[in-house]
């Protein structure tokens, strides 16, 4: 078991399932015997605001908040939110970016352009950037509702948590109806090559 804390920072837009991703990661870490803390501030999320959720696990976790430059992994559900979060990533860390774009409604009004070439903007040579279009991939697997489980699959491959525990937690989480599809999406994410 790893002694030092692993810090997973998940960002997205309200309603995308970013909180569910840290929730499940935390459950898996708990079941694997780690101390865990998970946190985010919610309130405005319902109305299209920003979500940033922190999950930390290890032998002994103190603060529930991941500081800037401390995240080992960032999972970004949305491209602009990846840009906003990048300060949190440590040198040597990995960011997984879902290339899906959700243009802030106010952007048109304030005449702000949605930034392009997000991948290039994130790359600094010191950190690893993984990009994918999880929306398209999820539709391929069976439904657009599977974006978050698919992304979780990608993340899970990088974390030192047992695959078996992931599957147990997912089985507990999803009712029988959605289980098969979610497992398929998780597997698809887990086996993606970058």
């Amino acid at each position: 078991m790893k002694e030092t804390a692993t810090n997973v920072y998940v960002v997205g837009v309200g309603g995308q399932g970013a909180v569910m991703a840290t929730e499940l990661t935390s459950e898996v870490a708990l079941a694997a015997g780690y101390d865990v803390k998970k946190g985010e501030v919610h309130g405005m999320s319902q109305r299209g605001g920003i979500i940033a959720s922190h999950a930390r696990f290890g032998k002994n976790i103190t603060s529930p908040v991941i500081g800037k430059g401390e995240a080992d992994y960032i999972l970004a559900f949305e491209a602009v939110e990846a840009l906003r979060s990048i300060e949190w990533l440590k040198p040597g860390g990995t960011i997984i970016v879902n290339e899906q774009k959700i243009v802030p409604p106010i952007a048109h009004f304030l005449k702000i352009e949605y930034p392009d070439n997000i991948k290039e903007k994130l790359e600094d040579g010191k950190r690893k950037v993984i990009t994918l279009n999880a929306f398209e991939k999820a539709v391929e697997v069976g439904s657009e509702l599977l974006v978050n489980t698919l992304l979780l699959g990608v993340l899970s491959k990088l974390l030192e948590l047992p695959e078996k525990t992931w599957k147990e937690v997912l089985t507990k989480r999803f009712g029988t109806k959605m289980l098969e599809l979610n497992m398929k999406a998780f597997e698809a994410g887990r086996t993606m090559k970058f």
């Binding site: 708990l30 946190g39 405005m44 299209g48 800037k68 430059g69 243009v103 409604p105």
Partner: protein, 606 residues
């Protein structure tokens, strides 16, 4: 692992789970035998009552406002039942009168108030500190730092309450309430309800008797000050004596993250403070650091004790939430030695802002556009509709505190402060909370204002809690629906009309009539929230590409379902892009279609 009341626990745990602080407060109420829970919703506190309602042993309901929640709690505690009240910190201001008097009388049944502060104002109008209220009321205040403590401190608070004949406050913060940490579960302990015993000397606060209670409160505070010196909730953790930190709440963990080698005095009770313990700790460490959220409360108390030499709030921040980054920067500035390396922060690019917006199909959107067209001065309130202050709607001009709208409008009208129509606009939730009494003022003085009750049948802003207008209770069971029209007519309003808030023209017509009416007039809207309790999704609208000129007027309603197309609009003069509507987001409310002069937005045919 969790620092909760170390070495204290008795029975075997029933399991180990991850709970948010709010879930843990509710679990604490369950385990500690709470019989009645009463609350008023408000982020970050709302999930407490929601979870209490999930335990069949607890009678849990939303109250009309924080003061009635508190007073219902008093009734229950007077019967000797263990009672828990919860609210966000601004709510404590609302119930302060009841709170101060209930401190005076003392409580026969355990009474705990969980108040959630919001440092950083993630979702609050003010950034105040509940510890100040505890000091004012001279009641103990407990300060949990994680979910395990959140749960355990509820039981501790109830025991303190019964032992010292006082209500007890448990103060949470957004991080404690919303973070999930590991909690050990224990079974519930039942406490029999003793029943009401008459005791006018205690419960009737007429001056002659109240003065005797004051003596009791002074004695009680002295006893509490003695108790906190040995309470297991205040813990010293000796480590290196180079740096000693006095802290409480989640700040304890942030500080531990940055200063793992330091010694700590962790205050589980943040009022009253253990003076001897603090002086002893301060005398044994080389550099004393005080790390606290939100106001410099410990700092001022330390100065009263005669301790001046420490690194305090001005090194860390003057407002906002603490986190490890802020603490590290503050310690560095103050020259406090740190052994942990500083993280490397690399920034690469800026991201555009993403403020919250009203949902697609929000019932508030259309009628606020009508206010705008009428160029009314809109005195408003706190709810989802407050978002109408921002671009692109910009049709809301004040929001002071819950229930302020009608009173503000009355005052403005009385001094003829504007020639524009005066509209007071507030939600049904806020009207029930504290809008009825100022409506009485408007009737009593026959002031010429228009009051719009934005009745979306729910308390939406805080996550969709039911209220008197919803027809169901906190546990989901059905109940009567309060008839708002009958209510306002009962207060004496003569002009009452209902309007469909999606229909901008109809809204303007009704509003013009109401504004022309001599005396106060009430307009009630009749569309539910598009999200809660049921998601509304009718046939969506679409932009007919051949007709769209790319003028962008439809976007002035701020609906997030409307976006820019990749195509230049066919009828565009200057090469503007056409607009499109995302059919998965559009609820079919029709508001944008009413704005398009060339009728390019039409109902999507299957």
């Amino acid at each position: 692992m969790s620092g909760a009341v170390k070495g204290k626990r008795r029975e075997k745990s029933e399991g180990r789970v991850l709970l948010s602080g709010n879930e843990a407060f509710a679990r604490g109420a369950y385990e500690a035998g709470v019989v009645l829970a009463s609350a008023y919703p408000g982020t970050p506190s709302s999930e407490i009552l929601l979870n209490e309602a999930g335990y069949k042993e607890i009678i849990a309901d939303w109250a009309a406002n924080e003061k009635t929640a508190f007073e219902i709690g008093i009734g229950s505690a007077m019967a000797g039942a263990r009672t828990m009240i919860s609210m966000k910190q601004p709510g404590v201001s609302v119930c302060l009168d009841a709170l101060l008097n209930w401190s005076h009388t003392g409580t026969p049944g355990g009474f705990v108030l969980v108040a959630c502060d919001d440092p950083g104002q993630h979702s609050s109008q003010t950034e105040d500190d509940t510890r100040m209220y505890a000091k004012l009321a001279r009641v103990p205040c407990l300060d949990p730092s994680d979910s395990m403590e959140a749960k355990e401190f509820v039981g501790e608070a109830l025991a303190l309450s019964e032992k010292f004949d006082t209500l007890t406050i448990v103060r949470s913060t957004t991080r404690v309430s919303h973070s999930k940490t590991i909690v050990d579960l224990y079974p519930r302990t039942e406490y029999p309800i003793k029943g009401f015993e008459r005791n006018p000397n205690k419960y009737v606060v007429v001056p002659g008797r109240a003065i005797l209670r004051e003596t009791e409160v002074i004695k009680r505070l002295a006893a509490l000050k003695e108790y906190v010196e040995t309470s297991p909730l205040n813990q010293v953790e000796w480590n290196s004596k180079e740096v000693g930190v006095i802290t409480s709440g989640v700040a304890y963990y942030h500080a531990k993250h940055v200063l793992p080698e330091a010694s700590f005095l962790k205050l589980g009770i943040s009022f009253p403070l253990p003076e001897k313990m603090i002086k002893d700790f301060a005398s044994k460490v080389k550099r004393l650091v005080v790390i606290e959220e939100t106001r410099p409360f410990f700092e001022e108390e330390l100065k009263i004790m005669g301790i001046y030499d420490f690194v305090g709030m001005d090194s860390f921040r003057v407002q906002g939430e603490l986190d490890p980054d802020i603490i590290r920067a503050g310690l560095k500035k103050a020259g406090v030695p740190m052994e942990q390396p500083e993280p490397t922060v690399i920034k690469t690019a800026e991201a555009p802002p993403r403020p919250p917006v009203m949902c697609p199909g929000c019932p508030h959107r259309g009628i606020f556009l009508a206010f705008k067209k009428l160029d009314a001065n809109v005195f408003s309130d706190i709810g989802c509709y407050t978002l109408a202050f921002a671009p692109p709607i910009n049709a809301l001009h004040t929001a002071i505190c819950m229930g302020a709208s009608i009173g503000n409008a009355v005052g403005m009208a009385k001094v003829h402060g504007t020639d524009k129509p005066i509209i007071a606009a507030l939600g049904d939730g806020t009207f029930v909370h504290s809008g009825m009494t100022p409506l009485y003022d408007a009737v009593y003085t026959q002031t010429n204002i228009t009051i719009v009750i934005l009745d979306n049948r729910i308390t939406a802003m805080t996550g969709g809690q039911p209220a008197a207008e919803s027809g169901f209770r906190a546990n989901g069971s059905p109940t009567v629906v309060v008839d708002l029209e009958a209510l306002v007519r009962g207060i004496g309003i003569k002009f009452v009309k209902h309007v469909d808030p999606y229909d901008i023209k109809a809204c303007m017509d009704v509003l013009k009539e109401a504004i022309a009416f001599e005396g106060p007039a009430v307009v009630l809207t009749n569309r539910p929230c598009a999200l809660m309790p049921k998601k509304i999704k009718d046939k969506p609208y679409m932009v007919i590409e051949d007709k769209c000129t790319g003028c962008g007027v439809c976007m002035s309603c701020g609906c997030p379902a409307i976006g820019l197309s990749d195509q230049v609009a066919k009828k565009s003069k200057k090469g503007e892009k056409a607009r499109t509507i995302d059919p998965t987001l559009c609820t079919g409310c029709s508001v944008c279609a009413q704005l398009c002069a060339v009728h390019a937005i039409e109902l999507m045919e299957k």
